[in-house]
Amino acid sequence: MTRSDFPEKWHDLFAGYALGNLTPAEQAELAQLLQATPDLQQTLREYEAALAQLPQALDPQVPRSDLEARILEAVHTAQASLPPEPNLVTAPRFNHRYWWALGGAIAAGIWLLLGLDNLRLRQTLTLQTQALKATQQDLSLANDTIQDLQRQQDQAETVLTSLRDSQKSVYALEGTGDLATAAGSVVTLAGESKAILVAHNLPPLPADQVYRFWADVETAEALMYCGEFTTQDNEPIQWSLPSVACTAPAAQVLITIDPVTASTESGGELVMHSLPAPG
């Protein structure tokens, strides 16, 4: 298709574009046309160029003769004030607006650099503050751990001392029912009338419940209530034995879960019992 073969509608669009009087619908139509046929850009430029020829027909008008000198002087001034760079056109200085713009640009650049530097420092400070806080938190945790270990060591030494110095009975325990995975050992100390339990997987209880320790001793016809306790994090547990009879060697010991308010006449749910002594 040659240029003269273009539909008249296309030429209307090109002319309207050059004149700036296309409607929005025509703009969309032209955009689609140019997208479909990019070569039409050349014809579009011809219309722009044709319109741009109009000034050629203007009455001759000559500026004042010193305008050329003023322009060149501005260029030379700029060249003298700025060191020339190879292969680059030196920016001319031509009027006050240029210098205001240049000054503004430099000020804006400095402001931007300072702003960026300030932002970078703020970010660094923030990161360092965060790191310091994290370190302080780690240190606090480490201190807590040390204190816990110290406390556990104190408890262990207390237990060892008791075990060394007292007449004792030791029972191995295993879980049953819902706490079948529980296991542990309990020691009753006759001299101190207390019991020490080391247990695993014996969970903490709700506030209205408690573990109770029972012993099957010869002096009693029924299981003897021998105190109660709660657990916390598998730590050794100590409690006072309510009766000297509880320190006597027992055929079996049991642990139950009972309401805090329940009578000690009988036990609740059985969760651990002692294993028969070996051999």
């Binding site: 020829q53 060149l72 003298a80």
Partner: protein, 195 residues
Amino acid sequence: MHSKPETIAPNWLLTASDRELLAAMQQGQVEALREIYRRYERLVYALAYKVLQMPEEAEDLTQEIFLKLWQSPNYNPDRGTLSTYLCLITRSRAIDRLRSQGARHRLVQRWHHAHSDSSKANPPLEQASLGEQARRVRAALANLSPAEQEILEIAYYEGLSQSQIAQRLELPLGTVKTRSRQALKKLRRLLQDLI
């Protein structure tokens, strides 16, 4: 100390093409800019004056156009002649100035000026040409009807909207669009070998 501009161009500049002058200018040769200025100062100034109607403003804009060309030449020779490019940017900046300096007052001023010009016995299009291109453009415009010439010139030099042109010429908006497009299509056909 500033070096004074030379007043005599080297011989090669006088015969160099616009493309060669631009290349030299981009290498920092002020003499090339001066030669470009000498070739197109009248065209740029005439256009600036036609739009702005004020000699001082037209000179200021002419200076701005050539210094802009020196500072950051965006002209692409593959997309048209240098004269076309200079006319495009001069017209664009002139109309921007016109609009920013109080359009209503300026347009009234221009309107009176245009009417006084039209009463002259020797309108621009009938005057002797300064060159072949000017002669061709004038001849092409002469092939348009007076109404088509008028509407093209208003659209080009005054930067009015279509509705403003319609109001000015007391024509329906559709007629303004149709007539101006028809005029430009004719002009393009007549100047096909120049553009």
